[in-house]
């Protein structure tokens, strides 16, 4: 028992790391934190799998709003585990702060360290009614370990008192900004971004058009809720879960050809493209002439090179604009060919409004946003907004398709954060 305590409390590596962080005084400096529910600290009230599921979800909820990943690690040496969780009662786990039995104090956490839960409390798993939600307590205590103190604000997860919750709770805007003050906001390049347009009938039977915004990266994606300034709760989720029949990762582009006579949606990856069936929510297996998907890009879009960097459809000109390196190709869908005088350099077709403030080439995303009625070019962590018609009417001096100065993507689309791949599928 003594050896265990020494190992737990005094391993040199751990102390050195803590002193380094203490000097900084604020937060973990690593981007991937390992956690473990320690074997001596299982609760007697929930199954081990339930306990581990709740902690996985609690860590995921933080990872969804901050640029840190959390991974459960049940094999590495103890000293390499950043956050250790355990249940105990009264005097427990070598801790100097004794629990008080059922009622009042239900857990405590050590800044940059361990979390202990009072097993005399009646902790419950999500979706069960009475008792204390282990998930909510775990999210609160993880907040402490990450560096947050108590916050006396209605709605904050860091309020000291436990507040029962009818339905699910989530980290609100202020808690997100509080943790991002310590760890920064989430940034990084996207593979493609698009608004998915749907036709629906409203309660009066009228045909209405709705759209949802989607951000794709690697093998996962988020739906972005523009009116809430955040992603959908629970995102990101695997591409394979939400989009059947398209490549499960690294999509190059999405294009929605939408005219009075056509309504076709295409996904591009490498030298191939897929057409997507919006009604049945899956990729078509073949086209109207029986040609199987995926099809080569050169076959349906002659003159367009592949692979492409990105693409978008301009409903005014009825051209698909394909981007590759420093060139842009305008494909006329009515003549089924690249328009004359193309390709052009991106710098010439999308001139910089402020000299030299331009992505030049290798564009990650060309995103037409219905929310902003504007086209955005993404590259890396930044975006350039293309001057739209309204802006040009207000300021005729702005060039056609001019690019306004770059801004950080995270300043306009908030809290789009990765989670560790082990937490992608819950």
């Amino acid at each position: 028992k003594k050896r265990f305590l020494d190992m737990l409390m005094y391993s040199n590596k751990y102390k050195k790391e803590q002193e380094e962080l203490q000097k900084a005084g604020k937060a973990f400096s690593k981007k991937l934190l390992k956690w473990r529910l320690i074997g001596e600290g299982y609760s007697s009230q929930l199954s081990i799998n339930e306990q581990r599921y709740v902690f996985r979800l609690a860590f995921r909820m933080w990872s969804e709003v901050m640029p840190l990943d959390f991974e459960e690690d049940n094999t590495s040496p103890f000293s390499q585990i950043d956050i250790r969780l355990g249940f105990g009662t009264g005097r427990h786990l070598g801790c100097t702060r004794t629990f008080d039995g059922s009622g009042q104090e239900f857990a405590h956490a050590w800044f940059l360290g361990d979390i202990h839960f009072d097993d005399d409390e009646h902790f419950t798993a999500p979706n069960s009614d009475n008792g204390i939600s282990l998930l909510k307590v775990a999210v609160h205590e993880i907040g402490h370990v990450l560096g947050l103190s108590h916050i006396h604000r209605t709605g904050s997860i860091m309020q000291p008192n436990y507040i029962p919750q009818e339905s699910g709770f989530e980290l609100d805007w202020s808690d997100r900004k509080a943790i991002q003050t310590l760890y920064g906001s989430c940034e990084g390049p996207f593979d493609t971004v698009f608004d998915w347009v749907r036709m629906e009938r409203n309660q009066y039977g009228e045909l209405v058009v709705r759209y949802n915004s989607y951000f794709f990266r690697n093998s996962w994606y988020w739906m972005y809720e523009n009116r809430n300034n955040r992603t959908r709760y629970g995102d990101p989720i695997p591409i394979s879960t939400g989009w059947q029949g398209i490549p499960v990762q690294n999509i190059d582009a999405f294009v929605h050809v939408w005219t009075w006579t056509r309504d076709s949606r295409y996904f591009f990856k490498g030298a191939l493209f897929w057409r997507y069936d919006s009604e049945n929510d899956k990729a078509y297996s073949q086209d109207t002439q029986g040609r199987r998907y995926p099809r080569p890009i050169y076959e349906a879009f002659p003159g367009v090179p592949s692979p492409i960097d990105t693409a978008f459809f301009d409903r005014r000109t009825q051209h698909i604009y394909f981007f590759r390196d420093v060139l842009v190709y305008a494909f006329d869908i009515n003549r089924n060919q690249v328009a004359p005088s193309f390709p052009k350099t991106i710098t010439s077709f999308f001139p910089a409004v402020v000299p030299n403030n331009h992505p030049k080439g290798s564009i990650d995303v060309a995103y037409y946003s219905y929310m902003h009625s504007s086209l955005f070019l993404f590259k890396g962590k930044e975006f350039w907004k293309v001057v739209n018609e309204k802006e040009r009417r207000n300021n005729p001096s702005l060039p056609l398709n001019g690019l306004l100065p770059k801004r950080a993507i995270s300043e306009q689309w908030f809290d789009i954060c990765n989670v560790h791949t082990s937490l992608l599928k819950m």
Binding site: L21, K26, D120, Y233
Partner: protein, 155 residues
């Protein structure tokens, strides 16, 4: 084991043997305020070695000896205690009476996290201290950002 009857253990009842001591009088209220840092920030050492100084020595507090050296008739009703009680009432949206009324006792007995409300860690700079003290203002977040208007939907 803890007593339950239903298959999913949802009706589990604690044995009742280990019950937390509830706040019920001036002494227990003053211990609560001291324990959770309302009288003065409690050192909350980040290192796990737990070489935390013992919680604020209550005896000085109990003797009613205030910094000014005045002695008081009832040991716990010192200005320090009343000021701490008011701070607690204010931050918990209770009527600020400075008296140990029922509403305050109920608030003190609610289930809560064991981390003190006002704490210092050796690593924390003084700046963090002042941030902690200003009520309702979390570390660094600005209040003028509008709250996301929609209530959380189920995940």
């Amino acid at each position: 084991e803890k007593l339950f009857h239903s298959r999913d253990h949802s009706d589990i009842r604690s044995s009742g043997l280990h019950q937390a001591e509830l706040v019920s009088d001036l002494l227990s209220a003053q211990q609560y305020l001291s324990k959770y840092g309302w009288t003065e920030p409690v050192p909350w050492d980040p290192s796990r070695s737990g070489d935390i100084e013992p919680l604020e020595d209550i005896s000085r507090f109990q003797q009613g000896i205030h910094d000014s050296g005045q002695e008081f008739a009832e040991p716990t009703k010192t200005p320090l205690f009343i000021e701490a009680l008011k701070k607690f009432q204010k931050l918990n949206n209770l009527p600020i009476t400075g008296k140990l009324d029922e509403a305050t006792i109920n608030a003190m007995n609610k289930p809560r996290c064991g981390v003190p409300d006002n704490q210092t860690t050796k690593a924390r700079s003084a700046e963090a201290q002042t941030l902690l003290k200003s009520p309702g203002n979390p570390v660094g977040s600005s209040e003028n950002m509008n709250m996301s208007p929609n209530p959380p939907k189920i995940r």
